[in-house]
């Protein structure tokens, strides 16, 4: 297990190198010179001399590989350049905003799992009866609702009308409830659907029929033979939802005045603040890839087949 985890972790390094090179190249090839953006954000008129000077300062006059190499050697030391707009080190800014985003996304992930698993089980247990219909209706609503709009509806209902929750801001647990609900509605709906269908698939599996033949009670069959097998798809799906959750967090943050990295990144994108865009994307990919690694390790731990296969290979 440890061996497997370490090997997967080691494989991430070349992947991140390739991704960072791709990000770097796309940014450099992007229409609209970085030197222009640099001058615009520094309020310097883009005369030919100023452009040449900016290109020299930014190292844009050098070959792509040379540029990448100097970026990489600085990035390894934690220097991702300075923002064109704020003139502050990019990494410092992003690390300042990132924890709030990760906190929100993390709580949204936990909420997704805590709510979707019982819903999925309930729905499968009462297949085609009213609890199932209700859960399916809710899930259908969930995959169709714009998360940013849901944020406003929640503010209007619970913040303004009922006055149960603070409409925006940060600080207490109560501040998190509405953003988390807005972010996770979509992923918990997808999860509940998925769990339902994988539970129902397992109901017809041969090992379940065998368990019933041996005279196990319905509850025992459900817990020991159906649920345990249905957990795998949920773990896999959670890996896929992470991207959705992170993306949702970036959008929903701004509605609730949550001090996360979303607003910072959006303004950088609008400004063509390339160092920020580059570092932000890379950080997001790192977070996503690490989460997926955890998911993979978890599923290896849960799936004896995979575990044995890995052990045999190693």
């Amino acid at each position: 297990m440890l061996h497997y985890s370490l090997r997967r972790l080691a494989l991430l390094l070349p992947l991140l190198l390739v991704v960072s090179f791709a990000i770097f190249t796309v940014i450099r090839l992007a229409p609209g010179d970085a030197a222009f953006a640099y001058l615009r954000l520094s309020n310097i008129p883009p005369t030919p001399e100023a452009l040449t000077e900016a290109r020299r300062v930014l190292g844009l006059d050098q070959p792509l590989l040379v540029q990448y190499w100097s970026w990489l050697s600085q990035a390894i030391q934690g220097d991702f350049g300075t923002s064109f707009a704020t003139r502050r080190p990019v990494l410092q800014d992003i690390l300042h905003f990132m924890p709030a985003t990760l906190q929100l996304a993390g709580v949204a992930l936990i909420f997704t799992l805590v709510v979707s698993v019982p819903l999925g089980i309930w729905s499968a247990r009462y297949k085609d009866r009213w609890p199932d219909q209700a859960v399916r209706g809710l899930a259908f609503l969930g995959v169709s609702t714009p998360n940013f709009w849901l944020g406003f509806l929640l503010i209007l209902t619970f913040g303004v009308w009922l006055k149960w929750l603070p409409p925006f801001g940060t600080g207490t647990f109560a501040h998190m409830i509405m953003p988390v609900a807005a972010i996770s509605f979509m992923s918990l709906s997808i999860n509940a659907r998925l769990l339902r269908s994988s539970l129902l698939e397992n109901t017809h599996a041969r090992h379940v029929a065998w368990a019933r033949m041996r005279g196990l009670s319905d509850r025992q069959v459900e817990r020991r033979h159906i649920l345990r097998n249905a957990i795998m798809p949920i773990v896999t799906a959670t890996g896929m939802h992470l991207g959705e959750l992170i993306g949702g967090t970036l959008v929903v943050e701004s509605i609730f005045a949550w001090p996360g990295v979303g607003r910072y990144a959006v303004s950088a994108i609008g400004n063509k603040d390339f160092p920020v865009i580059q570092c932000f994307t890379l950080m997001m990919v790192v977070v996503f890839v690490l989460c997926n690694l955890i998911v993979d390790i978890l599923s290896a731990a849960l799936n004896p087949q995979l575990r044995l296969g890995e052990g045999g290979e190693a």
């Binding site: 990000i23 090839l29 709009w149 406003f152 991207g243 609008g270 390339f274 996503f288």
Partner: protein, 291 residues
């Protein structure tokens, strides 16, 4: 779904009969027809110019002149909602067209030719899938610049790997089939083979995949416009309308509720149609989502 119902009546025990089950589909089709006609005939249906500013009429409630009231610049909300359908539907259609234009040639070539090209393309897809789609789209917009066209390009690029992979796997599956071999023996060239024998299967898979994605893409486009990265602000688009109305969330909640409802209903209709199409067309999904 109908023929399945006929062949296995037992499965339908306890249901309210087929009319009730088909009701969502009928509603969804109605919504789609309404949206399409609103988009096509917006200039004739809309009671007013969606961009006509009239500060004297700002933030008015519903009246005979403005059925749904006016926004903070006195623009007619109903007209803006009607014109908004053009943005949402148009951008999603363009997105899908672009995705297919990239995915079918690339995935087809990978499946047909195989070897280095195939490996290269699959590595590219793997690489792109390490990004969360929203982050990839945000990054591409950062590189390309803001605006609706770039949003469409960004969404298309961030979604195409899934489609290219599907095309590739369909082609690979079919390549070894007897009837394809027979066509080859008869002297059919690659182009002929592709159009006659591969394209129909690919098309079915693409329709399923795309129709399940349409709603999601709509949400993407308006989400990005809401953030101020997509459609520019004077243009009538649902995400932009919600974003414009933010400062009046407490005094004029309807300005936010209405465009959101339009978006919600469109996405719902798209999802219902997507599920129905999948049930009909996807050979791998015989059971649909009711087991």
């Amino acid at each position: 779904m109908t023929d399945k119902t006929l062949s296995s009546p037992i499965r339908d025990h306890g249901h309210h009969g087929s009319t009730w089950r088909r009701l969502p589909l009928v509603l969804a089709l109605t919504v789609v027809v309404v949206l399409l006609s609103a988009a096509l005939f917006a200039p004739w249906i809309a009671p007013q110019d969606p961009n006509l500013v009239s500060l004297a009429d700002r933030l008015k409630g519903p009246s005979a002149a403005h059925w749904l009231g006016t926004d903070h610049l006195g623009r007619d909300i109903l007209s803006r909602l009607i014109y908004g359908t053009r943005m949402s539907l148009g951008s999603v259609i363009l997105c899908i067209a672009l995705i297919l234009a990239i995915a079918i040639p690339l995935g087809g070539a990978a499946g047909f030719i195989g070897g280095r090209l195939d490996q290269g393309l699959m590595r590219l897809c793997d690489g792109m899938m390490t990004f969360p789609t929203v982050v990839l789209a945000l990054f591409l917009i950062g590189a390309l610049g803001t605006g609706l066209v770039n949003v469409i390009i960004a969404i298309a690029i961030s979604h195409f790997p899934f489609y290219a992979r599907m095309v590739r796997s369909v082609v690979m599956n079919l390549r070894s089939k007897d009837y394809v071999l027979a066509a080859r023996v008869c002297g059919a060239g690659r182009t002929r083979l592709f159009i006659d024998h591969f394209l129909p299967s690919i098309a079915a898979q693409m329709v399923v995949l795309a129709s399940l994605d349409v709603g999601h893409m709509m949400l993407h486009v308006s989400g990005l416009s809401f953030l101020g990265l997509g459609v520019e602000t004077p243009t009538a688009e649902w995400g932009v309308m919600i974003s414009d109305a933010r400062q009046f969330v407490f005094s004029q909640p309807m300005l936010i509720v209405l465009p959101g409802l339009c978006l919600l209903f469109s996405v719902m209709a798209a999802n219902i149609l997507g599920d129905a199409l999948r049930d009909r067309l996807d050979p791998n999904n015989q059971t649909g989502h009711h087991h």
